[in-house]
Symmetry: C2
Subunit: 128 residues, 2 copies
DNA sequence: CCTGTACAGTACTGGTAGGTTATATAATCA
DNA sequence: TGATTATATAACCTACCAGTACTGTACAGG
């Protein structure tokens, strides 16, 4: 069976892993819009867009309104904050100073391996 | 056929949409590790982990070293900066002041709809 | 040379994602 | 009421994904 449902973070990442859905979010960031409006920029059927909207809604990234026969969608950005918080854990790893330190240490290690590569203390080189 | 390959941002998001892969990245943030080390925390076969590692490598999130029979993996964080930059576009949408304004406007609109809901100027209510 | 270890590669399978067309529903308009 | 518009739902297909088991390969050590 395996009825486990993915954690919220995975659901959000998966929802964002599609350029169509990201374009929909970009459109909704400028204000709410109907399904037809959201379909317009894409060479894709309306049911396909509705499916994308379901994915986004399931991830909590949009919500539905009701106005006559229209169901305008509106952006809900709070899951994006979870993404921002998560990725921020790694900020130090991509900032320039760290990259330079990382490159320095890697160069240093490569140099050492070239100098006295396969002779002594193999165990201390074992990763982990 | 459809040989189109997804854009880098989609590839990165997709790679992150799995708790196992995010756990692997968290482990590698503390330093490089062998495949066996990375397998240890998971009740999963080694080929399964190797597949996850391939996904991460394809997304540019890790890179491989070589030391004797070990292939230590190392974190490459630069794609995460792309994620951070993308999500930062929406920061204003989730920050508290915006949420309050958003809620205020929504309440205002609901109140107006209740007061003179289904009588006049339908066209001006059409979304888009 | 042989054995154990640390991986990679392949083949298979069940589930899901993302698209299609066709059809149903709900509200508006004439 | 009937036609039109907006959107949802259903059924289907294809491709890919995430596991599995099995097998192959490279290196280390007795």
């Amino acid at each position: 069976m395996d009825v486990r449902q993915p954690d919220p973070l995975s659901t959000t990442f998966a929802a964002l892993a599609d350029p169509t859905r990201r374009a929909i979010l970009a459109r909704l960031a400028k204000g709410e819009a109907s399904v037809k409006d959201l379909c317009a920029p894409f060479e894709m059927s309306q049911p396909a867009i509705s499916k994308h909207l379901r994915v986004l809604e399931h991830a909590g990234l949009i919500e539905q309104g009701r106005q006559a026969q229209w169901r305008p969608r509106r952006l809900r950005a709070s899951p994006l904050r979870e993404i921002a918080d998560w990725v921020d854990q790694y900020r130090s790893h991509w900032e320039e100073s760290f990259e330079r330190l990382d490159a320095y240490l890697r160069d240093l290690q490569d140099t050492q391996e070239q100098q006295h590569g396969d002779d002594d203390d193999r165990d201390t080189h074992r990763p982990g």
